[in-house]
Amino acid sequence: MTTLGTTRATLLKDLRLEWRSKDALNSMLFFALLVVVVFSFAFNPTAEESRHIAGGLVWVALLFAAIFALNQTWARELRNQVLDAYRVSPAPPNALFLAKAIGNLLFVLILEVLMTPLFVVFYGLRSVGPAWQLIVVALLGTWALVVNGTFFAALSIRTRSREIMLPLILFPISIPALLGMVDATTSILTGDASPDFWIKMLAVYDVVFTAVCLLLFETVLNAE
């Protein structure tokens, strides 16, 4: 079977599993909702202050929330040891990685779509710069999070405390991407500077880490 065909079949299977269990989406939504509400009570910022802190707040909240989806990605493959059925099949290993990464991208994008109106309402946000660029930043930034997250979640599945291991490995390596996401978002919201540099940096980060993850995934999948 081709990489594209296996990716599609695995992605559809994962979406069906998530639709039926809602393990990842529910956890992410509740966590992100809590962060929005708690921070809005804690800071009560003005509209101008909001524009300066929203970038950091939004992305940190999404990064933490995404951990729930990333941990679920492989947890469901470990139940009943289903991952072994994939490993003994002739299906390409990278198809599994791509399906998981795209699945996580969709889950986190759904979360972003649901949480954006809440952020706008709770923090009185209004973008001074071109708001459409936020979509580009969201797509590039989210892919940066999920591509590394999916890879490192696979790396930590055989460790005893994998829920703790994932953020420990993922957060340091995501710092350049997080910096790009926060600065690009803040630049767009405040209109103080052009976000072009940060958007380009995110694009390069995505290309480099996607390539590295694809190159190394088969080794990680078959590691004992």
């Binding site: 079977m1 065909g5 296996t6 079949a9 695995t10 299977k13 069906r16 599993l17 039926r20 269990s21 469901r76 139940r79 009943n80 040891q81 289903v82 072994d84 059925a85 994939y86 490993r87 003994v88 099949s89 002739p90 299906a91 004992e224």
Partner: protein
């Protein structure tokens, strides 16, 4: 026994000086053996004898510490993955999907499309393809049957089954054993790791006894293999 073993055919599995360490513990200790095609082998042995480890090495799920495995003429299991079926001790099925949904997905991994092969596999193991219940709601016996269906779905030449009868009632066990005999009669090679040796008497072509990570006896009947185990120092 109705195996039609052609002596001129190359062996399906050749193990050469196979060793597997877990830390300092040797789970497999220098196994060298070959297995002919179109036969049904029953692998016996106490818990910890190395049966499951051996199967995992043969399927490529585990790398040996030393030695080589030649599977269907290939040096790497991945090269012949489409010709091998594997049923593990765990069901290797998604609890949230129905039986047919599981089989459709796994058939896809082997490049097989269409519901007909999935329905055929389910019917072969005595399950109703129309059953819409999710696998999580199946009984243990039904899970084992579905797991067997998953392993034979793509019509493999070599089928490796790790304790397929565990937690299965006596009636279902006899049915599953009969299915394995039929599969062998179609020219497939079947390996069954089980503790229920008596059940396979009359169906199996050869019993292979493992102890302490080694193959200590091979014989056509359980009584012969047991006699050889007793005389082994």
């Amino acid at each position: 026994m109705t195996g039609t073993h052609d002596l001129s055919s190359p062996p399906v599995i050749v193990l050469e000086n196979l060793v597997k360490f877990f830390g300092r513990f040797a789970a497999i200790r220098g196994i060298s053996a070959s297995f002919a095609p179109a036969r049904l082998y029953v692998v016996l042995g106490d818990n910890g004898a190395g049966k499951s480890t051996l199967l995992r090495i043969v399927t490529g799920l585990m790398e040996p510490s030393q030695g080589t495995v030649t599977l269907l003429g290939a040096g790497k299991a991945r090269e012949v993955a489409h010709r091998v079926g594997y049923m593990a001790h765990a069901p290797l099925l998604y609890d949230e999907l129905s039986g047919m949904e599981n089989l459709r997905y796994f058939a896809g991994l082997y490049g097989q499309r269409g519901d007909s092969i999935c329905e055929k596999a389910m019917t072969m193991v005595g399950l109703d393809p129309q059953l819409s219940r999710r696998v999580g709601q199946y009984s243990q016996g039904m899970r084992q049957r579905l797991s067997l269906a998953r392993a034979v779905l793509h019509d493999p030449e070599l089928i490796l089954l790790d304790e397929p009868f565990s937690n299965v009632d006596a009636h279902s066990t006899r049915e599953m054993a009969a299915v394995l005999g039929q599969v062998r009669d179609q020219g497939k090679t079947v390996f069954v790791v089980t503790h229920q040796a008596a059940l396979m008497e009359g169906i199996a072509d050869e019993f292979v006894h493992m102890a302490a990570g080694q193959i200590v006896a091979r014989a056509a009947t359980t009584s012969k293999v047991n006699a050889r185990v007793e005389t082994t120092p």
